[in-house]
Amino acid sequence: MKKILLNRDFILFSIILIILIAVGFANPLFITPKSISDVLTDTSILIILALSQMIVILIRAIDLSVASNLALSGMLISLLSTVHPELPVYYFIALSCVIGTTLGVLNGISIAILKVPFIVTTLGTLSIYRGLIYFVSDGKQVYSNEFSEDFLALIHFKFLSLSFLFWLAVVVFIIIYVLLNHTRFGRNLYSLGGNPDAAKYIGVNENKYIIMAYSLSGFFAGLCGYLWVARYSVASTQIAIGFELTVISACVVGGISVMGGVGTVLGCVLGALLIGLIRNALPAVDISQFWQLAISGAIILLAIIINTKTEQRKEKTIMVEN
């Protein structure tokens, strides 16, 4: 029992519940099914990106370029859709994923083959990919009336009164869960992050895994590129700007150690949910707009402190009796 209570995921889940109840007292409208379903929809893209970022963080790296990758993939397919509105939406989704994956592979090659440190590589591509959006779009926006109906329809599809975005996040959660816990690839990611030297001894090819991890991160950034422009019906140079930091905080809140090799898929999702909840709850309880950013930062920090304190690594015990 004690083990369950001290489990990070359980603590995180409790924190989410407490916030939900507290906000519910202040504003009962916030905890209606409709409102909760809106929060879930609103958090879905964050969940997907946090899960793919987790893969990268597990091997002691970080992908700072996800938001720029998302924006560039989103812009490219938006531009294409204005020229070829007759193409089916699946075509655009697939294309967006391909573009995202390509950008991810470029990150991976730079890190694994050219040996440019991951922080430098992705900081660089963060600017490069964002800069390319200006280049391809001439700095112009694609407005909602320029998209075809088909392009935007999928996002409004609902099942059991929950949105397409939510269900997609569930599917991605299951895929990543199986990938990390039930495939050799996933387990080797954990071993590579946990003890890179020892992983080499058992024959894990580090470069291959770096490139694979960044490709996956790119793939999901590309997927979210479509989701983002379709959901907000707009593609501009500014979409998702700075979103990579939200994604990384979701991972950190979720207990994915930036030291690598530690973290659960469920924890990652809960981390994203907590951040999504705070972002939606603060306006609902009438907190001044000027304060929202600082308060949400403080709550995130507090959650991390509670979470790590309760599960702090025990000191090595020398004496049994004391």
Binding site: R184, N195, K316, I318, M319
Partner: protein, 493 residues
């Protein structure tokens, strides 16, 4: 013949680590690989593991010539090493560590956790080990970790198992259990290469031996044809009592004392004193609490209870700089992580702890710094190619000397050395010993943690023997026998 190495040579930047070494491992045999630190044992093991490639020579496995280009090749040839330093995954479960890199998958490509769990359970039961497959490695004792590593090599179907000092940090009871496992492995037709510094245990467990010294093969024979004294002579190449410079200084009055030191889960009832010009040794198994006590005395970690007296005055040490101001310094075991900054020059490292003394109103006095560092470099004979050379490019011995120079710059009266000669070559080692003798003559008092009994017996005046956070006894080295010390340290008496 299971494994045969012929004429193996390996150079590192002109240093001959191995020279034309032959090594033969019979089938079904436990073979001791012996030699002092730096004799070439670990180089040989790393060649077998595919970490290093030999410059010349042949490897025959089952009478067939093989090359071992990388670690996974070594594994697939059936060679598995149980390393002294951890190659385990602390955050992963026992089951996963056993199967790491070798996960069993179901027909649909997914990992078969159930089957792996069962197999691990069976394996641990066969080894008569009391370990839960679900436990994380970080929660296991060192002995249990060894057993997990052995299980791993069994899963890989290794028929050559290399054990690098497997008993180094185990208690006597755990050692006996490990011996049983090793003998069982032999019954299962495995060949074992056994590296150990404990010669009694080598004679008890092994069938054959090979001694290396300075990268050369000295002797290879069956254990029956030798004895302990002979082995020592092979290894040292000289009489044992000549290794350590005995210092004949008159020990003066008590200078430092601790009373009833206590830290929860770490140590308790710690009482000892140190006299001027004395070398006080601390012996015990790795993880017996020696380092933890010294870290508390130096102010790195907090004591729960107890008092420290220096020159008959009670002193309060809250942080390392308090200790340094009093004239007490601590030289860490992990010199690369904690003792020096590899990307700084030797000069800057030497001056790091005395910046306040070498500055006027917060502005560094370069002349004072250069004077201090060149004096220290000369005194300790630190070899640098140019004055701004980075510390990380020095040899292990010179790095160690740099760290010592850094602390000596503070002009301490009490010097705490934590494993000062761990992992450095024989020549630098004796230089460190000689230097310790000189320091004591100059009036310094030294506390030295060491896991090498000969070093304790050769250098110290008294030895504090520890076991699981308690002081078992404080012995006068001249009157103590090594058997007595080892027994105390393994908690037997």
């Amino acid at each position: 013949m299971k494994l045969e190495l012929k004429n193996i040579s390996k150079n590192f930047h002109g240093v001959k680590a191995l020279q034309n070494v032959d090594f033969q491992l019979q089938e079904n045999s436990i073979h001791a690989l012996l030699g002092e630190n730096g004799a070439g044992k670990s180089t040989l093991v790393k060649i077998l593991c595919g970490v290093y490639q030999p410059d010349s020579g042949i490897i025959n496995l089952n009478n067939k010539q093989q090359s071992i280009p990388d670690p996974s090749a070594s594994l697939s040839l059936g060679i598995s090493a149980i390393h002294q330093e951890s190659v385990m995954f602390d955050e992963l479960s026992v089951t996963e560590n056993v199967f790491i890199g070798n996960h069993i998958t179901k027909s649909n490509g997914l990992v078969d956790w159930g089957l792996m769990q069962d197999k691990t359970n069976q394996l641990l039961k066969d080894l008569e080990a009391n370990i839960e497959p679900n436990e994380k490695i970080k929660d296991l004792s060192i002995a249990q970790r060894h057993i997990v590593q052995i299980s791993r090599s069994l899963i890989h179907d290794a028929d050559i198992v290399i054990m690098d000092e497997p008993t180094a940090s185990l208690s006597q009871k755990e050692i006996n259990e490990l011996y049983t496992i090793i003998r069982n492995l032999k019954k299962q037709n495995k060949s074992i290469i056994f590296i150990s510094h404990k010669l009694d245990e080598v004679i008890e467990v092994c069938d054959e031996f090979t001694v290396l010294r300075d990268g050369e093969l000295i002797k290879s024979d069956t254990i029956q044809n030798t004895n302990k004294d002979q082995l020592i002579t092979y290894m040292a190449g000289r009489e044992v009592n000549q290794i350590f410079p005995k210092n004949n200084v008159t020990i003066e009055n008590e200078i430092f004392e601790v009373r009833n030191l206590f830290k929860k889960t770490q140590f308790k009832d710690i009482n000892f004193n140190l006299r001027k010009k004395e070398i006080l040794g601390f012996y015990g198994l790795v993880g017996s609490g020696r380092t933890e006590i010294m870290k508390s005395i130096f102010g790195i970690t907090k004591l729960d209870e107890g008092e420290i007296l220096f020159k008959d005055q009670k002193i309060l040490i809250r942080k390392p700089s308090d200790a340094i101001d009093q004239g007490i310094v601590y030289l860490s075991e992990e010199r690369q992580q904690l003792g020096m900054t590899g990307l700084m020059s030797v000069k800057d490292n030497i001056n790091m702890a005395v910046m306040d003394r070498n500055s006027n109103f917060y502005v560094m006095n370069k002349l004072k710094e250069i004077k201090n560092s060149s004096a220290m470099q000369e005194k300790l004979n630190i070899k640098v190619s140019y004055w701004s050379q980075l510390t990380q490019s020095l040899s292990g011995g010179n790095q160690q000397k740099t760290v010592i120079a850094k602390w000596l710059s503070t002009k301490p009266e009490v010097l705490i050395l934590d494993e000062p000669t761990k992992g450095i070559d024989v020549r630098s080692k004796s230089a460190v010993h000689e230097f310790m003798g000189e320091l004591v003559e100059e009036g310094m008092s030294i506390m030295m943690i060491s896991s090498e009994l000969p070093e304790i017996l050769g250098m110290c005046d008294r030895v504090v023997v520890m076991y699981k956070g308690l002081i078992k006894d404080i012995l006068n080295v001249k009157e103590a026998s090594s058997e007595q010390i080892v027994k105390l340290a393994s908690g037997e008496s």
